[in-house]
């Protein structure tokens, strides 16, 4: 028997009650979605971002894939051309926001404490600190975690999943929820490929199995290889958001 919770070996899959014990109470229908509150707030964020013609990306990955390093390089290379703002999500420390702020781009650290993901409420308040009228592209770096952030819409245009070649190429199969939710997968640290046994083609095939529509780019924010294709995609996203707002306003 497990000494922590008392479950026995036969209960590896716990029995869930789906029948009531005898109560004399009154039954009240509720029919409410558990993520309804987050989804409502995410909808508010999405409307705000549309009004401000703001392209918004939600960067997700496991810890250590290079999300912050990709951002640093991207901001340094494009900040004269695109006005960025960055929300950094981590359980603790302001290290990442400090790294971003060093590039001269407005950044805010959100510490989730014990929380494993950012939610729409945190993002809604987080962006209050930025001048959104003077921003083209908001990058939200989520908590390094391939599980929970998949379920929480923040109001972003797209999720971008980062996977580095020092991880397993089967990550998309192990965490399908996340790779299904992502529009784009960045395969990072490709400068290390000569030293590793990571099979890029296999990795891409796995990602397309869980999400046939996913766009995949290979890059290294260290050597700079492949970054230009990522920048082109960002430019298109920013232009697309403004065009959508203009056509609506016309």
């Amino acid at each position: 028997m497990c000494i922590d919770c008392g479950c026995g070996p036969a209960e590896a899959s716990h029995h869930h009650h789906d029948h009531k014990h005898d109560h004399d109470g009154k039954t009240v229908k509720i029919e409410e979605d558990l993520l309804a509150k987050n989804n409502r707030l995410a909808g508010n964020n999405r409307q705000l971002f549309a009004d401000k013609e703001l392209f918004v990306l939600n960067l997700v990955s496991s810890p250590g894939s290079g999300k912050t390093s990709i951002l640093e390089r991207t901001l340094s290379d494009l900040k004269e051309e695109i006005c960025f703002a960055v929300l950094e999500g981590d359980q603790q420390t302001a290290n990442d926001a400090d790294r971003i702020a060093a590039t001269g781009v407005p950044a805010l650290q959100i510490n989730t404490g014990t929380g494993c993901h950012l939610d729409a409420h945190m993002v809604g308040h987080g962006v209050e600190t930025f001048d959104l009228n003077a921003t083209d592209l908001l990058m939200i770096e989520n908590v390094g975690n391939l599980v929970c952030p998949a379920s929480f819409d923040l109001g972003e245009d797209f999720k971008v999943a980062v996977l580095s070649v020092t991880e397993g190429e089967d990550k998309p199969l192990k965490y399908p929820q996340m790779f299904r939710a992502a529009k784009m997968m960045l395969i990072n640290k490709i400068d290390l490929l000569p030293h590793l046994r990571f099979d890029v083609e296999k990795c891409k095939a796995f990602a397309r199995q869980v999400n046939p529509e996913i766009t995949i780019l290979e890059l290294s924010c260290h050597s700079g290889e492949g970054m230009e294709a990522w920048y082109t995609w960002l430019r298109q996203g920013v232009a697309g958001k403004k065009a959508a707002a203009d056509s609506k306003g016309a």
């Binding site: 869930h16 109470g25 229908k29 558990l34 993520l35 046939p212």
Partner: protein
Amino acid sequence: MHELGITRSIVEIAEENARRQGAQRVLSVTIEIGDLAGVIPDSVAFCYEVCCEGTLLAGSELLIRQVKGKGRCRDCGADIDLDTTTFNCSTCGSYALERLQGEELRVIEMEIE
């Protein structure tokens, strides 16, 4: 991993509804969790008692209805059973699957007095 937050939402939603009904306490809460929702029923059940402490739900029972994953193949039109490890159609092999059922995450009803 985020089941604690999910369970807190269950308690919040139920308590809010119970107060609106003028209930003294909640006896049971029935929820629905889809097999594709990314939420582990065991973990929710584990968190439930702690989350209920100090609320109208203290001592209440949690009833979980699990909902099977179902989908349709966009290429051959077959209706198929889905779990989190199904990526392609069992009939034609296509990966273009549409999810029809199994992502539910809802509070259905509760019993109050």
